[in-house]
Amino acid sequence: MKAVHKNILTLFLLLTIAVILLHGLDLEHEDKQESPLHMYYLETYEEAGSINLVESILLNYRAYDTFGEVMVLYVSIAGILILSEQKKGGEKD
């Protein structure tokens, strides 16, 4: 199959997906399910310690997520430094 044909096929499939998603899901802001979590955060924000709700979710309710995320950032930076330190000798093999 030529590259052009592949791209046309992909484009066609993506259009199909787009039509089905937009038509089938029919997302509107009004359809959003009222989240009990949102109400809970509104009521207990004083316990969590910040009037900035995003902040208190990030570092208090879901601090464990942030913990994982900090580790991800750290691992990727360490990984980049490791990649740059790797000896070039192995590249021939």
Binding site: L14, I17, I20, S35, M71
Partner: protein, 546 residues
Amino acid sequence: MMSHAPVFVVITPILGALLMGLLNPFVKKELYRDLIALVSLMTPLVLMLYIYRTDTNVVYEMGGWPRPYGLVLVVDGLSALMVLMAGIVTVTTFLYSLEEKRLLPSGNRYNFLFLFMAAGLYGVFMAGDIVNRYVFFELTIISTYVLLTYKGTKESLRASYNFLIIGSTASFFFLAGIGLLYFNTGFLDFGALRGTVPYIDQGTRNIIFSFFIIAIGMKMGLIPFHTWFSDAHVNAPTPMTAILAALTIKTGLYIMIKLFSIGFDTLPIRWILVFLGAITALTGVVMTLKYTDLKRILAWFTMSQMGMIVVSIALWSPLGIAGGVMHLVNHSFFIGLLFLSCGTLAYVHGTRDIRELPLLRSNILLSVGFLIGTLAILGIPPLNGYYSGSMILQASSRYPAVYIVLILTYLLTAVSFFRIFALSSGISDLSSPPESMLIPLVVLAGLCVFLGALSPLWMRNAVFPAVRAIQPGAVFEGSYPYLNIHGLVLVVTSMSGAFIGYFFAPFISGLKLEWADGLLSRVPVTDAIRYMIIVMALVLVLFTIL
């Protein structure tokens, strides 16, 4: 203090890794780093054994926030089993890598990434929240991307790059699915989702699952999403290969089980996974006939076995889930054993080509280890693959097409393995590899035999609680007998396959399978993404028609 055990399972490896990083400029000896790593890999195993002994249903609330609002760590039958499995495999493969990492061009900070990967795995297995699971999966997979490049060859860089692109795309699909799930239910916690997902209307739920199917399919290496799989396995250092095959791809399966259990277990969804799993089981094993590189052959076997486990779990009967979960654990041990003995063979003989490897005329422990792994994967009675294999067969016996596919898979597996034995030749070399490489082999082979012989016992005590954690009301009719008709079918199939494979090996070895080049193996990353689009479009069209 012991009530905090679940959190220490996750953070001990991270603590060890960070300590190692902090001490890196001051401590020059490798020995201390190995000791830190070993201790922080052993601790989670011991802690999880302690938790499992005392209480099998622990919910640890992070920061003291109650369950649907904050994040929790969940230890139930299933996650405890997975964590124990991960603990055993990480400790043994780490022992193995003590020797192997000296061969790598730059082995420094290998321990460090290894620990982060282990922590990520524990985090995935114990997370009670879907976003939290995503975050820890990223921790695992990013350390894997880097560990894949440790050989420094250009093929390993290519494998890592392809894995990164495919993995990130799949992660975005997963996140979009999470977003739509939150839009429709308002929850992210698995406990709360279990109560709310069934009320989403069927069409929306199917469309949401079409996002998830790509993510979990990529993580498990199901057929159209498998393109990163064999390349990554072959070009990674051997311990990493064992971890990838035994644990990392199991996280995808675990997420699939969790998604099924919260309410995505309706029919069209499950049949798609059965279909993909069956294709993977058959195609994976056919592809093994093409190669002579032992590691690549084992990688394709891993895929084929994963396909079988997916089929079994997607049938979603209590026996199918029990068989699938049990085979999952068994598979970790025997595939770990096979990959590690493959690595040791390559270490001793300096090649991975089966035509130059004296497989059964090598060091006695090595040969016996490889043989035990082989017999376990074929399901020969005293070994662990037998019991779970026969359970999978019985669970699928209601659907003849699936049953035939599974039997064919077992037959071809046996053919392929005995083809390897028939083709293997080379100068016999009985020299012993280092002990740190043999101990893991002995441990894993011992587990294969031990778990195989005690199958009914540990099925009752460990697998049933796991199944009840997935399907709270699961009922088993009596206990499953050790010797039964499906086991007999399995053994006969494997035996005849072994016979065919051993005596017709010269004919089979000429198989080129040229259609597979560029279609199944050696696929550029752009085509891999194209496969994802094709599958998603097909699945969506199917859901619209039904």
